[in-house]
């Protein structure tokens, strides 16, 4: 039998709607459509909840129409409507959830609220074929080292303050880099021509990391040394990436050693960064293991991952009642009972 889910995501500045089909005879997962529209702000600024929600409201219907058209399905083919329950920014989450609720009533289809992080993990596993990897989840809002055990994705390490993507985004603002397509992408490009390594704080505590001290330190250096020409913005981007990615690779390796795993799956927006992937491959290669990473279609927030993770839960009998379909800004990865895995 074929199951079809539509997924709506808008927990940060990307609005995404995707449609996925699971075939429970062949086990095949088919991506029918994956449409995204991003709220991009001028250089030097970040995205604010209110404006982001307005962006999502403005674009959600055309994105929905595109997703349905591209999938070449009719409404009656859809089994379930999935939406991001959290974590994320309140207003953008709510602006998309209300669309999901409306569709549920309008089309008379069940709802499934999905944890955004679980969406990333399940999509990453599906796309790459990684079986039981240590997951490094790195984005603008999250930094976690995760591994599955006994029906939950357990958090082995995480940031003790800001997320790695947030650190990169905020530093991009300091340098006035463009937010198009994303601040992190532009830092990555600038880092390629960095020549001098500037020592920055390096903060690893067990499997946890911390970025706020590094950010304030590099902001200070930028202020003191850029104008005088002691260093270039490229040097700073290079040094920042080298330092914080080394921290991520180190904690991931520690988790691998701790649980005896040889696979690493990188998910989340920062996971697109090729330098991070390269460093991870060097580490994992030495351990005789394998790195799994996805490209920007799946690394960056999207609707497909919500549809896919939601459908996995739905097929084990899980639904979210209308009155429980509220959003929550804080929703830990390890709160979700993973009924679809052994």
């Amino acid at each position: 039998m074929r199951h079809i889910a539509i997924g709506l995501e808008g927990s940060a500045n990307k609005l995404g709607i995707g449609i996925v089909a699971h075939d429970d005879v062949t086990g095949k997962v088919e991506i029918l459509s994956n449409i995204r529209h991003t709220h991009i702000t001028p250089p030097g600024t970040g995205f604010l909840p209110r404006d982001t929600a307005a962006h999502h409201r403005e674009h959600v219907l055309p994105v929905l129409e595109n997703a349905l058209r591209e999938a070449r399905i009719t409404i009656k083919d859809i089994n379930v409507i999935c939406f991001t329950k959290g974590p994320g920014m309140g207003a953008p989450l709510a602006s998309v959830a209300i669309v999901a609720r409306t569709l549920s009533l309008l089309w008379d289809k069940p709802l499934v609220g999905v944890n955004h992080c679980i969406g990333h993990i399940e999509m990453g596993r599906e796309i790459t074929g990684a079986e039981n990897p240590v997951v490094l989840y790195v984005s603008g809002g999250n930094t976690q080292v995760i591994a599955y055990a006994e029906k939950r994705y357990r958090i082995f390490g995480e940031t003790l303050d800001i997320a790695v993507g947030n650190c990169l985004d905020r530093f991009a603002r300091v340098l006035n880099l463009s937010n198009d397509p994303s601040p992190g992408y532009n830092i990555e490009q600038a880092a390629k021509s960095g020549k001098t390594f500037i020592e920055l704080p390096y903060t690893v505590k067990g499997m946890d990391v911390s970025f706020s001290g590094i950010l304030s330190y590099i902001e200070m250096i930028a202020q003191d040394q850029l104008a005088s020409g002691e260093c270039t913005p490229e040097d700073l981007c290079f040094s920042l990436q080298e330092t914080i990615f080394a921290m991520l690779v180190e904690t991931t390796e520690r988790a691998m050693a701790h649980i005896g795993s040889k696979e690493v799956l990188i998910v989340g927006g920062v996971g697109c960064n090729l330098r991070l992937q390269e460093m991870m491959m060097q580490m994992v290669g030495q351990r005789g293991g394998k790195v799994f990473a996805t490209d920007e279609r799946f690394c960056i927030d999207n609707g497909i991952m919500i549809a896919h993770a939601g459908l996995l839960a739905f097929r084990t009998g899980f639904t979210t009642k209308l009155e429980e379909s509220f959003c929550t800004q804080r929703f830990r990865t390890d709160e979700v009972y993973v009924s679809w895995r052994d």
Binding site: P87, L160, A163, K205, T243, M279, R330, D334
Partner: protein
């Protein structure tokens, strides 16, 4: 490579050998460079960690904590020679418990929790932050049953309750992530810790804060 050494563990950042050292049996921890790291960063980190590990091991030992005795620090080769401790990790002990009946494992856990609590109290009283408290880094000495804290590779000295709280938080999460069945062990550890460490008050309230920070972190940047 350590001559006369038998490699017993290829860790993430160090190779561990057993080797004879001046009439004794020693654990030799040789840190190696990580090719994914920028060479400047790599050199700095390796040197810093060798130094801090040796100093913190010694500081703890002086403060009455059972830690391996440091025999020799070879900074040229990023290698520390230390006492070989015959014992089992708490991780292994907890994971092997499925063979025991309920009462036996309850008593065992109680004793282990008690020993861990006392050890952490002593360590933090000496202002040493371990930096990587996991059940793999706690040993029970075969001969005396004493709890030995090992692997000070990420340790440092700090008087801040925040740092001590994060230390405890790291251990708490090991229990939830690695030993979901022994999750309840952390509470008695904390109880003994609070009792034995006279300045534990601010640490415990910070721990509350650190936990909340973890669970309630917002995505908003």
């Amino acid at each position: 490579m350590i001559d006369n050494g038998v490699l017993i563990k290829q860790g993430a950042e160090a190779r561990i050998y057993i080797a004879p050292f001046l009439t004794r049996k020693a654990i030799v921890k040789e840190r190696f460079s990580k090719s994914y790291r920028h060479p400047i960063l790599d050199k700095k980190l390796t040197a810093r960690r060798v130094t801090q590990e040796a100093r913190c091991l010694y500081k703890c030992r002086r403060s009455g904590l059972d830690t391996p005795v440091v025999y020799f620090v070879d900074t040229e080769n990023s290698t520390i020679y230390m006492e070989y401790v015959e014992g089992k990790t708490v991780k292994d002990i907890l994971q092997e418990q499925s063979d025991d009946d309920e009462e036996t494992s309850r008593l065992k856990n109680e004793e282990i929790a008690n020993n861990i609590g006392i050890a952490l109290a002593n360590m933090h009283a000496a202002d040493v932050i371990h930096g990587d408290l996991t059940t793999s880094n706690l040993l029970c000495r075969d001969l005396t049953g004493s709890l030995v804290v090992i692997d000070f590779g990420l340790s440092y000295v700090s008087i801040l309750p925040e740092d001590k709280a994060v230390d405890l938080y790291v251990l708490e999460r090991t229990f939830t992530s690695t030993h979901p069945n022994s999750e309840t062990m952390f509470a008695p550890i904390l109880e003994i810790y609070t009792k034995k460490y006279k300045d534990s008050g601010p640490v415990i309230s910070k721990l509350e804060e650190v936990r909340l920070r973890g669970r309630k972190r917002s995505m908003v940047g």
